[in-house]
Amino acid sequence: MSRILPAPWLSLFLLIVWLLLQNSVSVGLIVLGAILATAIPLYTFRARDFPLTIHRPGTAVVYFLVLLVDIVVSNIDIAKIILLPRKKIKPALIEYPLDLTNQVPITILACTITLTPGTVSAELSRDGNTLLIHALNVEDVDALIATIKQRYERRLKEIFQC
């Protein structure tokens, strides 16, 4: 959090996106990208009303890898449900009690829930304490909630320390 680099992770992300878009790496491109990556966060910083710091980058990487594996697992799951001959599916609407308070971790958790096996996040309640989840095929609701808490919310709490 310095004056020149108010959001270091955003700057790094912008630089990487710029280099990917150009699809080549040269000194000139890196200098131009670095200028853009410092100027854009400076310009947009006042619009960011959510202070956020990543305390544990290592855990964030682990989280990302877990997420990638779970996306593949969830795809195989859904493909099974679609392709197997019509077995009775059991959808459910579940209210998931949140422990997180900050907006950004909640957003990340909601996106994660949508991308992982058999669940879609549908709405955040008005007081911000529960997240409504639609599950495609679930037997044991409490087990599902416990899994989400263990697997994702605990890690998010560690990463953002809130």
Binding site: V17, L20, L21, Q22, N23, I71, V72, S74, N75, I78, A79, I81, I82, L83, K88, I89, K90, P91, A92, L93, I94, E95, A110, C111, T112, T114, L115, G118, V120, S121, A122, E123, S125, R126, L132, H134, L136, V141
Partner: protein, 132 residues
């Protein structure tokens, strides 16, 4: 298409076939599943992995046949960031407009009327009762 070395040929083909199959299964799910909320599950998950597979195949093909090329990753990152958002909004629309769900759906909401546009009146009434 250019001829690739055998390993790259098989690797790219593997990714492309996996991706195409998942995308087709997702679209079949969109066609087959019984109600709107369950239909939402199929395309949001399976098409992202479908496009992901195609993109990995494309990265392998262009990196081996020409020079290292990663810009397709940009599309994958963008899709993985935006797919949950559109799914979330569509689910919200489905809830608020109260589309019919199949009968085996278990509704575990405490106050279902909070999530509906049609019965806002009753939600307000309940709040005022609570205030009293």
């Amino acid at each position: 298409m250019l001829e690739l070395p055998t390993w790259a040929d098989y690797l790219a083909s593997f990714f492309i076939i996996i991706g195409a199959s998942f995308a087709a299964v997702g679209s079949y799910g969109l066609l087959r599943l019984p109600d709107f909320m369950t239909r939402l599950h199929a395309p949001t998950k399976n098409t992202t992995l479908g496009v992901g597979g195609i993109i990995l195949g494309s990265i392998v093909y262009f990196s081996v046949s020409d020079s290292l090329s990663l810009h397709e990753l940009l599309i994958a990152i963008f899709l993985f960031m935006t797919a949950p958002i559109s799914a979330h909004l569509l689910a919200k629309a489905g809830l608020h407009l109260e589309y019919k769900m199949i009968s085996s759906t278990r509704d575990l909401r405490e106050h279902p009327e909070d999530y509906s546009d049609k019965s806002q009146h009753t939600a307000k009434e309940r709040d005022s009762e609570r205030a009293d």
